[in-house]
């Protein structure tokens, strides 16, 4: 276990070195091609007509005027897409509204025309005959007895887990360990509260878009902004009834995702337009459409109760979540289930009960967003840990150390914890943040800790040795800018003892790449990294066979040497990868190819330990850990919070590329800062009131502290590639909880509602000790 600081040295690019991403070069020259930058001969431009209603039956369409508009080539509506439904957990979503519309902004029709302006113009000429229905705008309303039903056929939808769907209830999950109801009697101190969190928009700088082309046989090639070419393929084919062999899914550079581009956005619509127009069609959303049509982080209502002994030992926690699903289930059942798995935090709590409901409403779908339900429950849970500490006179570090889970412990409902560097994370933050500020003034300090998984589902890698001994690596994992191509190439190069730049990473392509579920769940380094390491090892093994024959020695006497050579131990003679690969290509054995696939298969649930009902992820992953300390300032005039200094420590097992880990921690912190302090999607009735960057504000360079100190803790994960585990989400989870704890230090007011706007914090400043609305 060591603490490392990133060092920007270049020593061949092996694991542990902060290699600069090769794609940085084209990006700083303005040459990187994103979806909007792709053009095809004869290409049309698409545009979407969005629903003006939150809930309405579609009686019919009149396309006459729109079809006659200048430049229009094709129009599609729900009549063109069949009855196929897609969805990661519950297959409830058509390619485009069909029969009903379920939220303001839902795509109802789409036009392909010569220019974007013409396509947008024609959209305005489409007449849709709606019969308006009463709308459900909150989960509470959705559960009311006489509530109008969004999905009348919910019972018949395909579901991939025991969702318990009924009425507007999309799914429910319940997890129980110990006997919570009896345990309250053992507690000397109990805290309780009802917390709410707001919807947050991803705001990837690149809005969603897609380009579909169709070949002479009718087969479709689809480029899109995505986090998984394979999920794109599956969703398009499910919703449009296409065999998967009839759709090739590719990716250009992606302008970030954060969860927004994991499941479908407008790829199915773009493909349907291209099929109908029999020409390539490109469809790029405006920023406003990207806000209104795609997906966002779930608003939560969290009722939480935590009890402890007088010495600070945690005894019991109960957590009840009511989550707004939006109009379609998307990743929501997974988010809810994951929240509940995480609601105990990284603590030993013998009695833990978590239950949650996910309710359909007439809003855009809520779905995956960096943190995946963890930040919401953590905002409640980490404040309660501090509240208990306050009551018992234990400082925030002490109460957390006392209760934290250790290596070998089981997490809530059963998964075994591998490496756990949480204690070191706490040490790093405590050490660095102790004492007053440089000017001697006291800190307004807040702390929060978290764990997050990396894992889930299938992945693969193919490593091919080219004729000259350099390497082509193909994994199917989309690099969304975070640098997974670089990290995977480093893992591959390390295993082959090659310089980093001898490995080229192929762009994901469903025709040629091995399956990869996606760039999500902080999983690429850990799961795909394992596949890459395994595949590279197979290439080494094959090369060894050649080398033994070429050097006429026993294979056990051989060693892999730096720079792509294999030689006999204690001898100078060796053969190069180029010699080996040449022999394999032209004479003996055939080209060297190593492939490895895997699926994360450690069970989540231990039935001897816990009851689990409606668990959407039967096999989740390994655990990373993190601690965040923040020191905040509160503006006395406005109540606005700013962060003076922050200390972010994360146990990522092994930092394959420390610089890239560090940027994940910075970026996660700042995205979490916006979430904690001011980002909020606001609805005015059924309509999103702030679907623009004018009205929805994300942090600028002036809103972030200069002093964000990062500490990379390396406690190697035995199953991870070179010990690595995930780092993508863990830097965000803790931010609202830590800031809320710091605000409580500064104002002696507990805030149960996010975001911690100036308005809320000022109310607390004026009347301390209350819990402002």
């Amino acid at each position: 276990m060591t603490l490392v600081q990133p060092a920007p040295v270049f020593l061949g690019g092996a694991v542990g070195q902060s290699v600069a991403k090769p794609d940085n070069l084209e990006k700083v020259q303005g040459r990187a091609e994103y979806i909007a930058d792709l053009y095809r001969p004869g290409m049309l431009h698409g545009a979407i007509l969005a629903s003006p209603h939150a809930h309405a039956r579609i009686r019919g369409y009149d396309l006459t005027e729109a079809m006659a508009a200048p430049g229009v080539v094709a129009i599609i509506t729900g009549d063109d897409v069949g009855d196929g439904r897609m969805g990661a957990f519950i297959k409830d979503e058509h390619a485009i509204a069909r029969g009903k519309v379920l939220y303001v902004g839902e795509p109802v029709a789409a036009v392909a025309a010569r220019t974007e302006e013409e396509a947008r113009h024609a959209c305005r000429l489409i007449c849709v005959d709606y019969e308006e229905l009463p709308a459900i705008l909150t989960p509470e309303a959705g559960l009311a007895e006489d509530a109008p039903i969004l999905h009348e056929d919910l019972a018949s939808y395909v579901k991939i887990f025991d969702a318990g769907s009924e009425g507007n209830l999309a799914s429910r999950t319940q997890l129980i360990e110990g006997d919570v109801d009896a345990a309250w009697a053992e507690c000397d101190v109990i805290v309780e509260g009802e917390f709410t969190t707001q919807p947050q928009a991803h705001v990837s700088m690149e809005p969603c878009g897609a380009l579909a082309d169709i070949d002479a046989t009718g087969r479709v090639t689809l480029w899109s902004a995505n986090q998984s070419v394979f999920r794109v393929q599956a969703n398009v084919c499910e919703s449009l009834g296409l065999p998967m062999s009839k759709l090739r899914s590719l990716t250009p550079r992606v302008g970030a995702g954060f969860g927004n581009k994991m499941e479908p956005h407008i790829q199915p619509i773009t493909v349907a337009l291209a099929i109908k127009a029999k020409r390539p069609v490109k469809l790029i959303l405006s920023r406003e459409e990207d806000f209104e049509m795609v997906r966002a982080r779930h608003p939560y209502r969290v009722r939480m109760k935590t009890g402890a002994k007088s010495d600070g030992t945690l005894v019991a926690r109960e957590c009840e979540v009511l989550a707004d699903c939006g109009a379609f289930a998307d990743d929501s059942p997974g988010v809810l289930g994951y929240s509940l798995l995480m609601c105990g935090g990284p603590y030993r709590i013998p009695h833990l009960k978590a239950s949650g409901k996910l309710v359909y409403t007439n809003k855009l779908r809520f779905g995956a967003f960096r943190g995946f339900g963890n930040p919401q429950v953590l905002f409640a849970g980490e404040q309660q840990i501090d509240q208990i500490g306050e009551k018992l006179g234990l400082d925030p570090f002490a109460i957390r150390r006392k209760n934290m889970l250790h290596e070998g412990d089981q997490w809530f409902v059963g998964p075994r914890i591998g490496s756990n560097g949480l204690g070191l994370c706490l040490d790093a933050v405590e050490q660095a943040a102790k004492g007053p500020r440089a000017d001697g003034s006291p800190r307004n300090f807040g702390l929060a800790v978290t764990a997050h998984i990396s894992g889930l589902l299938g992945t693969g890698a193919i490593v091919r040795m080219l004729e000259d001994g350099t390497i082509s690596l193909n994994t199917g994992a989309t690099d969304i800018g975070q640098g997974s191509d670089t990290v995977l190439a480093q893992i591959c190069a390390e295993e082959l003892k090659l310089p980093f730049d001898h490995v080229v990473v192929a762009s994901p392509d469903t025709d040629g790449s091995p399956y990869n579920w996606g760039t999500t769940a902080s999983r690429v380094t850990y799961t795909t990294g394992r596949a890459v390491k395994g595949a590279a090892k197979k290439v080494v093994d094959q090369a060894m066979v050649h080398a033994a024959e070429m050097l006429e020695c026993d294979i056990d006497d051989l060693e892999l040497r730096e720079g792509g050579r294999i030689g006999q131990r204690n001898a100078n003679s060796d053969v190069t990868f180029a010699q080996i690969s040449g022999r394999a290509h032209w004479a003996v054995g055939g080209p060297l190819v190593g492939s490895q696939t895997l699926v994360f298969d450690e069970p989540t649930h231990d039935p001897k330990r816990a009851i689990a009902l409606g668990l959407p992820f039967p096999r989740i992953g390994v655990f990373s850990f993190a601690a965040l300390g923040v020191d905040v300032d509160i503006d006395e005039t406005s109540g606005q919070v700013s962060v003076h200094e922050a200390w972010s420590a994360a146990d990522v097992g092994r930092a394959i590329n420390p610089r890239l880990v560090e940027v994940q921690l910075h970026g996660g912190f700042v995205q979490g800062l916006g979430y904690a302090l001011y980002e909020e999607m606001v609805w005015d009735g059924a309509r999103l009131a702030n679907p623009s960057l004018m009205d929805y504000k994300v942090p600028t360079s002036r809103d972030v502290p200069d002093a964000i100190h990062t500490f990379i803790i390396e406690d190697p994960e035995p199953t991870g590639p070179f010990g690595a585990k995930g780092a993508g989400e863990i830097g965000l989870n803790t931010v609202p909880g830590a800031i809320a704890n710091a605000v409580a230090t500064a104002t002696r007011t507990r805030h149960l509602h996010l975001p911690l706007t100036g308005e809320r914090v000022l109310a607390g400043l004026i009347t301390p000790g209350t819990t402002p609305d």
């Binding site: 794609d23 020259q29 302006e117 800018g481 890239l660 560090e662 910075h666 623009s692």
Partner: protein, 158 residues
């Protein structure tokens, strides 16, 4: 097809004529009529900064600029920055610092930074943060970008 108007301007050192629809924004003209693609449509409202270009050496939003207002003027985009030593230094620092993640904001960031260094070759960290506050980045948290610009300024000052 919408009626087009012919505009003359200097793009990246070359005098060009371009036919663009009347009332087009510079962003539409660059991308759709000229296929100059480094200027990105991130919001089309002038907020995100991904479309920032230099017009008569001043950074402007291409999405808020009418092409009609560029008649006879000098326009520079990332495509035309290849020979600029200050830009090259900035680029190298961005590559090495980790200031580039998804890259969608990067061109706009570099244009703003380039303009800053021509007006203030030794900016304070605070000045850099202020100068870049109109270029949103959702990946990096800004820290590595600010490091890169400060690092480039220091190197250039030597």
């Amino acid at each position: 097809m919408a009626k087009k108007t012919l505009y003359s301007l200097t793009l990246n050192g070359e005098e060009i004529e371009v036919a663009s629809s009347a009332g087009a924004t510079l962003l539409e003209t660059l991308r759709e009529d000229l296929r100059v693609l480094s200027s990105k449509r991130g919001c089309n409202q002038g907020v995100c900064g991904a479309c920032t270009v230099l017009l008569d050496d001043k950074p402007v939003r291409a999405c808020l600029t009418l092409t009609a207002h560029c008649e006879g003027r000098k326009l520079q985009t990332m495509e035309g920055m290849g020979g600029d030593p200050i830009m090259a230094t900035l680029q190298r620092h961005m590559v090495e610092s980790g200031g580039v993640q998804c890259g969608f904001c990067t061109g706009g960031v570099l244009i703003s930074a380039r303009n800053l260094l021509s007006e203030d070759p030794s900016p304070s960290r605070e000045t850099v943060k202020t100068a870049l506050s109109g270029n949103l980045c959702r990946c990096t948290g800004y820290r590595t970008i600010i490091d890169a610009v400060c690092g480039a300024a220091e190197e250039l000052a030597q």
